[in-house]
Symmetry: C2
DNA sequence: ATAAAAATCACACATTCGTGTGATTGATTA
DNA sequence: TAATCAATCACACGAATGTGTGATTTTTAT
């Protein structure tokens, strides 16, 4: 890890782009291999420059940053993409992560923190601004934290529920647990009563956020 | 934010517990209000001490740390819990977050980073060790994102799919769209072919991540 | 030791779901 | 204009699911 980190910037605002360029180029261990003003330009240059990290704005003319991430990651899965944007709304965050971004910083991040985050990114981390991380973490809380704990499911019921939620057929659950399918049906019947649902689909919807 | 941050430690290993206690007590702006060796002890002391932050080990005698988080958060939702453990397996991570923990650090975290993370926690962030954050972020990446957009669903099929994903029965979809249930079945049959699935549950699982 | 809870299996019935095949109508397009 | 596609409806069959009721065994808790 004593090689310079090759960075490519995608940012349509000229001033911001050049600011980032100077910051990176002027920092030991970091090398800015390109600074693009559009997603299209970046996609063209990436095969030639093969950066380690892409700093990606979301709001771009033409193709947006999130779709650009999809393109980059499908062609070069080893490239780490860090979103760098002013948007902190949930939709952008989760679309970005779903698209394959592994970091998400807000533009207000101070320069030193940005460089630190880039380093963490190439070292297998996923740096996020505080409020971003909180939103990400909170998505794990809702379903299981509110409804399920008070449903008072027994350990066995929890176990069967987990198979149910994975889409296993009753007979498959029975095979996996070495019990009769009738037993599976009995358990699921009780689970449904406790969770106040009537179908497997409703269970799935409870796992998600409605 | 000029008040001292009140911290409660739950950690069964005596040496680690005292080490943390000394670190916190010896740092300006941090105040260790209690250091407990078990979850039960913590639950008893919390109402008296009302900490801002709880540092929680997972592997504890008696009640484990994750269940302890559930108890704490249900009684005191304003208390922030940071897991502090040697375990970095996915199950512990996601159970902890589901239980309501908002931070997750590994024990190898250096003291300065730990204090920084506690500060970030009370400021609305969700500090995580690098490899933890990466695992969390990766759950949002969907391989299904490839198949869905290009599945070439017609507008009507998309519409019916949306009802399907909401858990509507076939007959309910038919009523909502003023069409015959047979038509619904035909559409769904084609949708399943295009999405390469065999059950409604598999569709839901495609919507989710894995 | 006894009561309660959890886990197991059984049977019957009705509903829902997924598949296969086929047909009609209207709109789009080559 | 002919071919294609989207949307509609129909029928039949089997698989899977959900419900109700009841029973036995094991484990846990009081």
């Amino acid at each position: 890890m004593d090689r310079e980190i090759k960075i490519l910037i995608v940012e349509d605002d000229h001033a911001v782009r050049e600011g980032l360029n100077m910051l990176i180029s002027g920092s030991r261990g970091f090398n800015c291999v390109a600074a693009c003003a559009s997603a299209e330009e970046a996609l063209k240059i990436i095969p030639e420059t093969l950066p380690d990290v892409v700093l990606m704005d979301i709001n771009l003319p033409g193709m947006n940053g999130i779709d650009c991430v999809v393109c980059i990651r499908s062609a070069h899965p080893e490239i780490q993409v860090m979103m760098l944007t002013v948007f902190d709304n949930s939709e952008d965050i989760f679309k970005s992560l779903a698209a394959g971004a592994t970091g998400y910083l807000l533009k207000k991040t101070p320069p030193a923190k940005l460089l630190e985050a880039i380093t963490e990114l190439v070292n297998g981390g996923s740096p996020m601004s505080g409020e971003i991380a909180r939103k990400v973490v909170q998505t794990f809380m809702k379903p299981s934290a509110y409804q399920f704990p008070d449903a008072n499911l027994t350990p066995r019921e929890e176990e069967i529920l987990s198979y149910l939620a994975k889409g296993y057929l009753y007979k498959e659950i029975a095979n996996a647990l070495f019990i009769n399918i009738e037993t599976v049906r009995t358990h699921i019947h009780k689970i449904y009563q406790k969770l106040q649902v009537r179908t497997r689909t409703e269970v799935l919807l409870k796992f998600m956020n409605r």
